[in-house]
Amino acid sequence: MVGKAVTARAEVLARLRAALVDAPTPVDVPRHYRRVAESVDLVELFVDRLVDYRAVVHHGFDALPRLLAGVDRLAVPDDIPGHWLTGFAGQVRRDTPPLSPADLDGMDAVLTGCAVAVADTGTIVLDAGQAQGRRVLTLVPDRHICVVRTGQIVGLVPEAVARLDPRAPQTWISGPSATSDIELDRVEGVHGPRRLEVVLIPDDDVIAPGR
């Protein structure tokens, strides 16, 4: 008889153990899938995939001042490299003290870096690391400008997973916010940023906070 004192935890675990009385044989997981991309031009593939999902791609640092010229209020993480903002005449709102959701809702755009990018799927991964800030920063403003160093681009999803720390909160972004809920017709722009712009910069640009 089961007494009241039995916790749900103990009960659920006991049920699952009882369900496995047939002692299923151990499983060897075959991992014959690609772990590393064959030699392809990763930058070219990444750009192709980004454009396919309606992200806008810009090449080189020179694109940044041009992009920012149309922005009045720009949210940035604290540790944004100083020279990314060179020539920006608008109002820079750093995330210290933390910007409230309402503050962020009033921003024209947010500028961040990223942790790693996947060419095969056109994905940018943010892990709250350097030049990325809190998750909310890239969520509430309607326009996300993301700087990606070419060295951050890997070929396949497994390569990206291998570079990431599971303890860090992660956001994987593939194109702007979208929905296919109405007749499975893809519409860009629902709750997340409706515009995603990617600035690709050469790998020799060293991120130096506060430079």
Binding site: M1, V2, G3, K4, A5, V6, A8, R9, A10, E11, V12, A14, R15, L16, R17, A18, A19, L20, P24, D28, V29, R31, H32, Y33, R34, R49, Y53, P101, A102, D105, D120, R134, R135, V136, L139, V157, V161, A162, P166, R167, A168, P169, Q170, T171, W172, I173, S174, P176, S177, S180, D181, I182, E183, L184, D185, V187, G189, V190, H191, G192
Partner: protein
Amino acid sequence: MRHPATPAGVPSTGGGRIRAPLPFPTAARSAVADDQLRANLHRATRTIRGKRVRAVDEVPDWAALRDAGAAIKADVQRRLPELLERFEAAATAAGARVHWARDAAEACRIVVELTRAAGADEVVKVKSMATQEIELNEALAAAGIAAHETDLAELIVQLGDDTPSHILVPAIHYNRTQIRDIFRRRMADAPADLGAEPRELAEAARLHLRRRFLEAKVAVSGANFAVADTGTLVVVESEGNGRMCLTLPQTLISVVGVEKLVPSFADLEVFLQLLPRSSTGERMNPYTSMWTGVTPGDGPQDVHVVLVDNGRSAVLADPVGRSALSCIRCSACLNVCPVYGRAGGHAYGSVYPGPIGAILSPQLTGVADNASLPFASTLCGACADVCPVKIDIPEILVHLRQQAPHPVAERTAMRTLSWIMRSPRRWALALRVARRAAGPLGAWRHRRTGTRTLRRLPWPASAWTRSRDAPLPAPQTFREWWEKQ
């Protein structure tokens, strides 16, 4: 009396919205007669089938990914108790609180208590099959807590006082005009001249939910994956409503079926390829969020995980049927199923429709309580071909059909037939008798219609001929013909 600390572990069936209130054929009748519904379903499933094929065909190692996905899930099932304990330890160490629920009612109680403890009378919700399964919205409403669905399709279904009809696209049964009408009628802040363009409808939903997101105190989510080694939860979505819920509120409660585990973080490299391509036919869905307990200063600081059994232990107890727990809810099997494509999701009477629902729902509730669902299939096998984790759905359907209760007359007939067919002598004799008896009738039908078939049989065999012709025995068996040669 057993010591309370060593509970009697009896795998138990579950409750919630997984039990078909009507037999499938009865429930399907009105759906099949609804031309608009069939047109909507046809259009939507055809679109997504095409997308899936294109997204899968460009992956040269798709077969290897499926093999890995199936094996990882089989391994999880084999080690489920151990992996759950590991998940609990890792998530707790990272600052989450882990709760356990034996069934739907207990899971709902936990979420209600946590919401009250957070001082909230409303929650924002990320689309989640688990919370649909346990009927959480109804439980919250009964406790005076308003639940706001934030996924566009879930919002449409909620505003339309309807239930989801597809795992991935819950409003697949509506077309754009019907959705516009629901918004005009039920969304207070929708513009009066709202059009039916998907872009306009999505914009209306964005504005409707914006303030709600920014002010929400409590969010409720499910999870697509839970990583045992690290305590990480993963939510895969498109619109950004998931990110809003997972990031902005102070309290986050995630309701997770115990089968959602993967052993290690690296295993996500397989499922993050299999899931988006199989479900929306995209290389990658727009947003995937991963979080591990609490991150100080970033996102919810009060993080809960509710691990739910609700019948999963009963599924696990069946060595043939347990692979249904491998399902990653991609819904590819729905989109290729000829039965789903005509009957739609509501006919299945469970939050899990289509082929996967036909094997999952009866196992969660016990076959006796969902006896018609294993028969809601033609066994064509298209579902097994597209399944990213290689669940042999037809095999499990047949297995469950054997467990379903059969009428006495059918059982007796089958037993008699089996006795006859076990002996070649009895079989030959039976054929001879049948031929003699039906001979004149067959000859007459042949003269009149050119075939030896009957259009109608008397009751109870009339059930068989309602949608088929009954063949009469041939004038001569193959063996008789062979002997004459």
